[in-house]
Amino acid sequence: MLIFEHSKTGRNGAPQSPKQKANVDDIPASFLRKDRAALPEVSEMQAVRHYTQLSQKNFSIDTHFYPLGSCTMKYNPRACNTLAMLPGFLSRHPMAPEAQSQGFLACMYELQSMLSDVTGMAAFSLAPMAGAQGEFAGVAMIEAYHKSRGDDGRKEILVPSAAHGTNPATATMCGFSVREIPTLDNGDVDLEALKVAVGPETAGLMLTNPSTLGVFERQIETIAKVVHEAGGLLYYDGANLNAILGKIRPGDMGFDVIHSNLHKTFSTPHGGGGPGAGAVGVAERLKPFLPLPVVTKEGENYRWLTEKDLPQSIGRLSAFMGNAGVLLRAYIYMRMLGREGMVRVAEFATLNANYMMAEAKRRGFELAIPDRRASHEFIITLKNEARDLHVTAMDFAKRLLDLGYHAPTTYFPLLVPECLLIEPTETEAKEALDGFMDAMQQIREEAEADPDLVKGAPYTLPVKRLDEVRAARQLDLAWKGNEVE
């Protein structure tokens, strides 16, 4: 039942607005709304009940193991939320004077420093509001860099075929054309193809390492050399630092620019779709181009850097300063982990992934890349099951839901047929990993005995399998009984 269907004309959450409507007669009628907007008219309790009940229809980290590859669904410590929502932070106007914002600015400054340290970059801007915007900022800086040197012919961004969709989309948005570089079966970039591709058109290469295939790119130094020698820059898609935190630093690998999804590695919640934060870090030569604002420290005081300080900046990415509340959560999390905790994240995220991979193998599942170490994630391909039993990766995914596990990422990376990309994260206990593998095994047995059982899943959720084709063909994007009676 939609909230609109609880609506009755004249109902409202009375204590939540001024008792009387103030006079707005000074505004000419031509500017005024003619009909009241058809928002729901419900009591506060009805809203509370409706949205409490709705929430229970979600899987989430707080309720389920959620091994969604590339998404780093780890525990979101509750303290991060509580402390980021202290009234002193919530009630701060974004343009409050710096003198009255030192507490907040201190957190932001230290966050920049910690990010620089864990990534090995020279400087960070916290402006980008998600990974994709971080990529945008990074690629825009690459463009600005080349332009600033009068190096105008670089029109192409190289992207490995395994890359996340945001990489090519970002390159296009920045006005580049995109050239894909193939990936080898062992997960490494096809170096020969790369060598052929680079040239005077090359603005840069966007790379994820460990790649979206869940393996560490071993030739990274050679790749860096090839790109740099061609005059291009190296972009690190740091959506997932979980497997390298404190182990190896993108700056040391030769990357010029990196974004980091704080809502993954640094455990700010995903919120059912966001908000995130895609802080962007750069090597020395790209510092002048950082997006604004950036926090600096002068003596004991913190202040924003503006256009005056960074005239070559690619500019602003938001009305104010990005997702401050998300940044605070990341800051708190990083301070709780501390330097020793950082390394542990990488170690145990990697341990969990490799353990699950070993278990998958032992239980007879086919691995996409069988002979390598997993990083924070690994891939099972169900192409045999699809071929022999006509049960697809998506069927496995849906059946997992019935068994109380959120499904891994399905059909990504696109290179691997019938794949499940599995990322357990360091915060899950061995029991959860074993339980998941038991469930996978059970599903395969079900698929052998009764494939329709698996193909019909899920059965135990609020709805059965939904018709996505219908959704796209018979578009129903807003409630049209919009006339509240």
Partner: protein, 452 residues
């Protein structure tokens, strides 16, 4: 170990299953000379008790000032229920609803959100959010360029009465795509953009125009006539509007005879605390015609195998994870949790509650303007109708006045002198429904002192 549940025994069992001697063996593919040294820029870990003490101290460094500052972020009352429900683990710690059957909570909520935004804006469709108002405007411009097949110019008219950082952000984002953003000046007497000014800049092929209502100064633009003129000239119209104002002001979908093509703005006034600048969210609505140009997530209603209603992400072929370099945008993560809060906020207040809140903001600002403008040396900058925010000229440098007020714990407004040097010393003020008569008078007294 913080947040890591492994016992010694389990670690041993797991390593054995892997066939590795120790955890460091798992990193053996990393060239050893690349392995990082101990981090030096990250302090030692803190317990929750310690970080809690630190964060309380940091938060306490911010004096609780009385806020008359708006300029795109407003202090409104938010029912306690809103964030208590929003931060329930099931909303807070879920991912983007890729597995629809296990995400009906979030999906239905977003569908309801889309419905509310279309009701408020009078548009046909809404997406599930952009990062903020500024980026929503940038994406609206990109949509318009893709969507206006009749125009070749990629030229956009952008009044300077549009929020200054919205304009900057739009510039940053669209600059790579050879789009010309052409600024249109306002009338210095009225602080609004005349139709003439648009016409002057128009030339013969314009892709789209932007109108902010109320504009950055709080003034009301002649949206009907501008919209109609644009449409007569095959120009798409992009509205930027504070969504709370839409409880009182005409919906963009009803501007002129046909309504605008795209409406966007920042959802902050609908349930997001000011929180130092974010997270807020951008809303983005458009006509049915433009739906396939929409960036970002869209939720649709459909049926399950038993013909029961349910909700899914739809039209995904527009998006980066499917269309990659041909996607309508690179946006992936959006501002879902704030949308959750906003949906609950709108449900609890309803249209009548939003209307009362908006009217109170306007009445308070009028009362403020009245009192302040009686002060010697303080004057209204413009002769026009405004809503909930207004510009005052001051006989002393705005920056000094604002510092002096800040010392009295009053955030006196937004200093316009940098973005609008032509105004001289001028500030933009706002008094939301949160401000009391006493606070308004206290501001007037303080300003009188400062200006004396």
């Amino acid at each position: 170990m913080p947040f890591i549940p492994h016992t010694e025994q389990e670690i041993a069992e797991m390593l054995q299953a892997i066939g590795a001697d120790d955890i460091s063996a798992l990193f053996e593919e990393i060239p050893s000379h690349l392995l990082a040294n101990e981090l030096t820029g990250v302090p030692e870990g803190m317990t929750e008790m310690e970080i809690s003490r630190l964060m309380h101290a940091r938060a306490a460094q911010h004096p609780q000032s009385v806020c008359f500052l708006g300029a795109g972020a407003y202090e409104h009352h938010i029912p306690a229920a809103v964030w208590e429900i929003t931060t329930r683990g099931e909303y807070y710690s879920a991912y983007t609803p890729y597995q629809a059957e296990a995400s009906q909570g979030t999906l239905q909520l977003v569908y309801e959100f889309q419905s509310m935004m279309t009701a408020l804006t009078g548009m046909d469709v809404s997406n599930a959010s952009m990062y903020d108002g500024a980026t929503a405007l940038a994406e609206a411009v990109l949509m318009a360029v893709r969507g206006n097949r009749k125009s070749k110019s990629r030229k956009i008219l952008m009044p300077t009465t549009v929020h200054p950082t919205y304009r900057k952000t739009t510039r940053t984002i669209v600059q790579g795509q050879h789009i010309e953003l052409c600024e249109v000046d306002y009338d210095p007497a009225t602080g609004v953009t005349s139709l003439e000014a648009f016409k002057e800049k128009a030339g013969d092929d314009i892709t789209a125009i932007v109108i902010q209502q109320p504009n950055f100064f709080g003034n009301l633009e002649a949206v009907d006539e501008i919209t109609d003129w644009a449409h007569e000239n095959n120009i798409l119209v992009i509205a930027v509007a504070n969504p709370l104002s839409l409880a009182i002001l005409e919906a963009p979908g009803n501007w002129g005879s046909a309504g605008v093509d795209i409406a966007c703005g920042d959802g902050q006034p609908l349930g997001a605390p000011m929180s130092a600048g974010g997270p807020y969210y951008g809303y983005l609505c458009c006509t049915q015609t433009l739906v396939r140009q929409m960036p970002g997530r869209i939720v649709g209603r459909t049926l399950d195998q038993d013909d029961k209603e349910g909700f899914v992400l739809t039209l995904q072929a527009r998006e980066q994870h499917i269309r990659r370099s041909k996607a309508t945008s690179n946006i992936c993560t959006n501002q879902g949790l704030v949308v959750t809060a906003s949906t609950i906020h709108m449900s609890i207040l309803g249209a009548s509650g939003l209307e009362k809140a908006a009217a109170a903001c306007h009445a308070n600002t009028m009362a403020l303007v009245k009192q302040l403008s009686q002060i010697e040396g303080v004057d209204c900058a413009f002769e026009s109708n405004y809503f909930h925010e207004a510009v005052l000229k001051i006989n002393k440098p705005a920056v000094e006045v604002l510092v002096a007020l800040a010392e009295k714990n009053i955030l006196g407004g937004y200093d316009l002198s940098e973005a609008y040097p032509e105004l001289g010393s001028a500030i933009l003020v706002c008094a939301t429904e949160m401000r009391t008569d006493e606070e308004i008078s206290a501001y007037a007294n303080a300003l009188a002192e400062v200006c004396a």
